[in-house]
Symmetry: C3
């Protein structure tokens, strides 16, 4: 009788990272929101309304493997997704908290398909910097259109800022699209936001814009993918801050159950006042599937840090300019 | 094998309100706990114990459409309902956090059936003012009896105060009943509480009593309903505060799928020291059902505010004495 | 299609306790995380991977009957269990937040089978004192092996401390086993921890060790069980603190639906500086089953307190050295 599907993903693993602070200490941990695949428990349903129309909803929680806590310090229950919508042959419109257009577009050309999101910078970079309701990988108060027409998928969104007396402050608007034909897939998105770069007590809404392009090529067991994101944040009395991410990588299925992937992700930041920083991440991953729903994974990742991206202790002057990590674990979908 | 039903309601809409502050600013929002119908995700079950007996439970969370957050700042997971009970031909007894007797009684004669609860004052007024465990529309620690005998439904409850050294401080006791025959339904309830009107550090438990009566008349596609609530809160060293709500309204089903409703709700407050205030709310709503589980809704509401009910900025003396709102959205039950 | 089972336990009851503070006040309450059986809502699943292997997970929330709130002030959603693992004929390995080896071992020889956990000291004592991630009855970041071979069950665990620059600080390691043959069951466990007895700002990790043994004997409708736990916490600049728990009790099934139990639990604490304390708890309980999933319960419990275990008001010198409680309620499994 119930029209609700309960689903999720649970990732249990161990991760070792050296040089986690300026003093060069290392750390081994189980606690994570999913090292390989982000943990989630979700509830979703689709109702056929007839005439090609449907109503649908998704409510998705994130949680921590090691502690059982929510994936966010504010304890938002459906921090991952809370959206309800209506769809048809013309596409669909969903309202609520959901993945941004930019995030969905970039996902199509990440060599690692948004795995290892705590290590790889793309998921966080997708929707732009900032802890505001329009930062991170999802937007609050988002009204989003998605339409698929043959090889093309078109997306557009407007995330309300809900600022008293202003419709632009705190809002975001974006358009994006992907085009997939045969072995090729290309895509791009443009997002314009006006986040609060001040404080709650002294709000200061400033323009932010971001664009991204990318592509992927798949032939037999090999997939190559790469892309670029450029984001600029303006300030009232300081120079602009820019963050650029570029990447390229590949994956290869040796057997249907065994896959190896490798990629290079470069993040360049130019923060007003602080100066330039750069992080080059090289990551190699292996997946062995025990079933369609369960796999064992392992990765090795190496990051070179320079400029302001290093781990620096201003008091002692100590700094670390490289970081190596290993992860191994089990991911179970349900 | 599972004896649990997962159910809920998800409401996604946009609401515009003018004059949301003393300066007269407007605001457009998606974030809400459900503009038309309060959002919920619930788990419930009933077990047949034989001999006409059953055991049953309900656990119900509330959440925000625009943010995915809980519906309450304390992040109570089952803020809407957490109750377990046993029932039979003699009625049933449920224990836990649940709707008060007053709330259930008033629901039978609200022209809008507890929709638009953020706009219409009844749901909040039902169980009396105050953010205590026995304020709002639900009581904590509530032991409630419900019995239905032919046209009559009888309710009684005792919500424990759990105050060390006192059984009356913080408690609530209520009786109520509804009688429905043919097109007529009438009901009433009386509630006596002793909420803490002081602080946690300096508790000050004072008497509060509330009574309500109302009725509804339904003929063919037309339903007319109205009622009255009167609540009085005593204080140790100040005059009593009284809040009176009166209302009347009607709904009409033009087709099985299309309904229009309209009502007038008046709230009069007489707060010790501050003085008198009045809010007259006029609200008109339309519902178009896409299926039994999914509808599209819209409303227009207009409030006239006078006295201490106005939006006042004491520093500038600016004030607003009217507010207009529009809402439109989609409500999906699952 | 869904591979998830939703399950739980909901306990609604009323409890009276006298002498809840040094002044000797009493208190009657509904709010509890389950007086008889701890409240829970859980999601679990098992996937058959073939070849005798399985993948499995458990996500379990705890909640309060009277308020609908989480069972923990930090609002951890899966505070009771969040673990994922893999199993086979060789046993199984689970990762995450889960019951400790010590807790599982002691459960086999508690006369009350971990009921009334708010009154009986065993569940809290099982994994040792302290509010750290390795205190209480569960460990965070725990990697646990369980294997059953005929009459023997073997357990071992390592809970990572996740302390930057140290693998021992904050960690726990334990081994345990139970052996059950015919009417006899015996077991024991040893746990070595290094909890933070300082503060977050000034951490101070010190050794803690605990051992436990116990046994149970079951003949026809009678079951007798008893055991002992000894825990020692070291400090840098003070004497050790020791906590010893010893207990013995029995239960008898008069009919398949009606059971009486009684037990004596003694807790001796020797806290550095503060001195010695002792609590003797005598508890008698009755269970009447309405079905396999629903029962009605009642208990009477009496505690004698001496030394530092009394309820003392240092300002007035008032103290209480005994406490009597009664509970009655309904427990429903789903």
């Amino acid at each position: 009788q119930s029209s609700v599907t309960v689903y999720g993903s649970f990732d249990g693993g161990v991760r070792y990272v050296n040089n986690v602070n300026a003093a060069g200490d290392d750390r081994t941990s189980v606690s994570s929101n999913g090292t390989f695949n982000s943990n989630r428990l979700g509830f979703r349903g689709v109702e056929d309304l007839g005439g090609g129309l449907n109503a649908r909803f998704t409510l998705e929680s994130g949680f921590n493997t090691g502690t059982g806590a929510f994936d966010n310090a504010a304890n938002n229950i459906f921090n991952r997704t809370a959206a309800v919508g209506i769809g048809g042959a013309w596409g669909g419109i969903d309202l609520g908290r959901q993945y941004s257009v930019s995030f969905k577009t970039i996902g199509a050309y990440d060599p690692f398909n948004y795995k290892y999101t705590g290590i790889i910078p793309l998921a966080a970079a997708a929707a732009g910097s900032g802890a505001t309701s329009i930062g991170g990988t999802r937007f609050n108060n988002d009204i989003q259109y998605t339409g698929t027409f043959g090889p093309a998928t078109i997306r557009a969104e407007y995330a309300l800022g809900e600022t008293t007396g202003s419709n632009s402050n705190g809002s975001a608007v974006a358009v994006g699209g992907t085009f997939a034909t045969g072995p090729f897939s290309v895509g791009g998105a443009y997002t314009q936001k006006k986040p609060n770069v001040g404080t709650a007590a002294a709000p200061n809404f400033q323009d932010n814009n971001q664009w991204t392009i990318g592509g992927a090529y798949k032939i037999a067991a090999l997939r190559v993918a790469g892309g670029y994101i450029r984001e600029k944040q303006e300030f009232a009395a300081a120079a602009d801050t820019t963050v650029k991410n570029g990447w390229i990588g590949a994956s290869y299925n040796f057997t249907p159950a065994f896959e190896l992937s490798g990629a290079w992700y470069q993040t360049k930041t130019n923060v007003a006042v602080l100066g330039d920083g750069k992080r080059d991440l090289f990551i190699f991953g292996a997946i062995y599937s025990l079933s369609k729903r369960t796999n064992i994974y392992a990765d090795i990742d190496y990051a070179r840090l320079s400029g302001t991206s290093r781990l620096i202790n201003p008091a002692t002057g100590a700094s670390q300019d490289r970081q190596t990590g290993f992860s191994v674990g089990l991911n179970h979908l349900f």
